[in-house]
């Protein structure tokens, strides 16, 4: 990485003569995926993804060419290719951008961590994951026990002809730990934090054997318990949603519809449009007065914490929704110029081989004042749902249906029996206006996923979501086939 950026600095001096603006973004990312199943090594895979994206601006249009040949000749070839196509495309450009969409940026970011990620050896990781699967084996009904850790180390550097120089280095760990129980015709799975939802910026300190063993034992027990549970009833009732499902609710029904590139129509052919219109900012009562949502890339250790986005825009915390009122969209400098609306530093690419687009980063629901006990006590009849397992929403982000792994019935202000196959559905703005209580700061759970899919060409990106448990009144819930 160091070597190639020296080459690039020299190469940039020449390239800047031929285009209005030139930038280059180097990425070297190592992802190691370690899986143990039924106490045996199932899969060990690593991927070193290393390359550079050359960006050029010509006639107000920005275009891109990616190469993994990081020699001066390789960069020059990518640059010439980008310039040729960008000039041709500029005759049909979607918008004439000003140079302000690529501000001069300089700085450095590094993920918070106590121990560097490479200090966790493969033998240690395998041992810790095996401790989790072994602990799940509480009976012969637990037919499948798996634990996966994905370790990601990213080094990135961004240089540009207007003097930008940004270095950002990330260490991340994502976990997928799950137990499946079978008894006759019934099958139930319990996972840690729901499907693909447990991820943070953290170092090797995460691999604590006792934590993994305890988690494994709990998942085994809860999977067994679900085998004997009643189906979630079908009715309109009060629902408390725990942080590992709030994450998905925030992601699908706040994050995506607020992306300005969706509102501007870029995503209409793939991820979809949005029910939110430009005139809704400053006017739409998105939810009840208890609803406060932030774009917060500065929050410590979340999956999408960073200091600059891929355009060099310095990242700051902003309220998207305050006291229930929609204020701001998720739009990069480019989208802000196009829409004439305020935005955030969210121009992000999945790797060196994709152009940046408007993305979520950390989108968080700010805590309120309630304890979990107070929320439960305020419910005469309802359910408490935990851990996402199914998600679907329409292309304007309005009609959603989500399913969880586990639920508890609430009767007369007390948690009673366990329920299986809990699902709920609703309409986005109606649903958020049913928000009646928001848990306090000590109840906030921090989750994240590596698989937010969007963009043409497609990109899967990492996002973080922190939320306390929340209470919603009068939600349509239902179960599975009995």
């Amino acid at each position: 990485m160091k070597n190639s950026s020296e080459i690039a600095e020299k190469w940039l001096q020449g390239a800047r003569q031929s285009a209005d603006w030139v930038g280059v973004r180097f990425i070297r990312e190592k992802t190691s995926s370690r899986t143990v199943r039924n106490d045996l090594p199932e899969r060990n895979q690593s991927f070193i993804d290393e390359g550079a994206m050359v960006e050029v601006m010509a006639d107000g249009h920005l275009g891109y060419a990616a190469t993994a040949d990081l020699s001066a000749e390789g960069l020059q070839r990518a640059f010439e290719r980008a310039l040729r196509t960008t000039r041709a495309a500029a005759r049909h450009k979607a918008f004439a951008f000003s140079p302000a969409v690529r501000p001069k940026a300089a700085g450095h970011y590094r993920s918070p961590r106590r121990l560097p990620l490479d200090q966790a050896s493969l033998a240690e990781i395998t041992d810790v994951l095996t401790a989790a699967t072994a602990a799940m084996k509480i009976s012969g009904r637990i037919v499948n026990r798996s634990a996966n850790a994905m370790l990601v180390s990213t080094e990135s550097r961004f240089l540009s002809s207007n003097g930008s120089d940004v270095r950002q280095d990330f260490d991340m760990v994502l976990l997928n730990i799950m137990a499946t129980a079978v008894d006759g015709r019934e099958t139930q799975t319990r996972s840690s934090g729901g499907l693909n939802s447990l991820g943070n910026q953290i170092g090797a300190e995460i691999f604590n054997r006792d934590d993994f063993r305890r988690d494994g034992e709990r998942l085994g027990r809860e999977a067994e318990e679900l085998l004997r549970a009643d189906n979630c009833p079908e009715e309109r009732t009060d629902v408390i949603i725990m942080p590992d499902q709030m994450m998905l609710q925030i992601h699908e029904s706040i994050g995506h519809p607020l992306e300005l590139d969706r509102i501007l129509g870029d995503e209409r052919n793939y991820a979809g449009w949005s029910f939110v219109k430009p005139e809704d900012f400053g006017n739409l009562r998105y939810g009840s007065a208890l609803m406060n949502v932030t774009f917060d890339p500065g929050r410590h250790g979340q999956l999408a914490s960073y200091a600059f986005d891929d355009s060099g825009h310095a990242a700051t915390r902003e309220f998207l929704i305050k006291d229930g009122l929609l204020l701001r969209g998720l739009g990069s400098l480019e989208s802000q110029e196009r829409a004439g609306l305020p935005g955030v530093a969210n121009f992000r690419s999945s790797s060196w081989n994709r152009a940046p687009i408007d993305r979520m980063a950390n989108i968080n629901l700010e805590p309120g004042a309630f304890t979990l006990e107070e929320m439960i006590a305020s419910v005469e009849k309802g359910v408490l749902m935990t851990s996402n397992r199914s998600w679907s929403i329409d292309d304007e982000r309005n009609k959603f249906q989500f399913g969880c792994e586990h639920a508890r019935l609430i009767e007369d202000g007390r948690l009673t029996k366990t329920l299986k196959n809990p699902n709920y559905r609703g309409l986005t703005v109606d649903f958020w206006n049913r928000l009646t209580a928001v848990g306090s700061a000590d109840l906030v759970g921090t989750y994240g996923t590596a698989y937010c899919g969007k963009g043409e060409p497609n990109q899967a990106i990492r996002v973080g979501h922190a939320s306390p448990p929340c209470l919603f009144r009068g939600v349509e819930i239902f179960g599975g086939a009995s």
Binding site: D69, S71, T85, T187, R268, S392, L427, P457
Partner: protein, 448 residues
Amino acid sequence: MNRAGFMTWLKDHFQRLSDDLLSGLPAGEDVVLNLEAEDSLFLRFNANRVRQNTEVEQIVLSLRLQKDGRSTQISRTLSGRFERDRDLGLALLREAREEIRALPADPHLVPLKNHGTSNAEFPGQLPEAAALVESVAATAAGSDLAGIFASGAVVSANRNSRGQNHWFASESFSLDYSLYDGRKAAKGLHAGPRWSEVEWKSNLDRTREQLLVLRRPVVAVKPGRYRSYLAPAAVSEILFTLSWGALSASAWKQGQSPFRKFADGEKTFSPKLHLRENFGLGLAPAFNGFGEVAPTVVNLIEGGERRELLTSSRSAKEFGLSSNAAGDGEAPRSPEILPGRLEEKNALKELGTGLYLSNLHYLNWSDPASARLTGMTRYACCWVENGEIVGPIKDLRFDESLYDAFGPKLIDLTTHAEIDPDVMTYGARQLGGRRVPGMLIDDWTFTL
């Protein structure tokens, strides 16, 4: 890289590189190499204007080492320069040896064998990027078009230390787009090996005609049960969701299959339903990441009854099954649903009164135990009365068990089946696709 020479150059590069990596292995070490590469142009359109143009040249080499009953796989991007790439390849081998030393034994590991040699190349005719921008945008002038044009070479190759050597390379383009009239939209897809402006224009004209129908007033349709005709693109969307474990032997054995009751023999589908893998479609290589070659046809569902589940050699070893050379995730790679007896031109007449669904969106299992699937309608979906389109609907959510929809509720499938090429580009342009007919289904359940 020079676009015209990419496939030829890469073949030579890979053969030399793999010769060097595979030749010096000591006894007891086995290696399988996979190469995935592309030289791609992406043009992203919004309102018939270019939002972003991106060109990507990438080559990824994966090295899997098997030794002492253990295995590990390390992949990385290559530079395209021979000396550098040979050093990178040797570094992968060194790292893999280190990892093997740290791992416990893997009882389900399948020893590598020579699974033969194959060579398939499908050259195309693709104009330069600058010419394509003009060709796409000028033809669509006056339409509000959003979408993605992708083109170039995609390569998948495999060699191992036992002598097997597979090469699959194809040049193609796809223009995955939709046209808008206010909030209403119709979907189009134009794909093939050779770009022709004339064919593009006729494809576009068909989509424009569909959009015209959507100008009629919106018909309010309440949640309920409706007889529904699913056009091939909508059926393709459902078939795609079967990639997530439904047809996988290991998912079944691990309690993760939404088709568990079908696999157990407790449930069947309609006798009209036939589903198979068919590599004869030529959309994807028949070899998997181990270089094992799948039979040209693998019957999965025949007359609604269970035939084979997709089974990798690893699953076969673990669960005592026989392998059909499925890939690592045991997802279908080239599936097709066989046609039925409904003439496409009679589809609306046979539908009578109900819903015409051009596309579906965002499908997910809502109750895996009963194979219940939820999702949304999207694009040109209309209310039909007495065989005539009345007007477009507002999108509806369905929630329905496939044991019902593809079971007693399945009235018929169309005589014509269409190829729906895979246009996914996560990480890289994908190979593959599906062949599907339309389907007429009674009492399809809509909930929201």
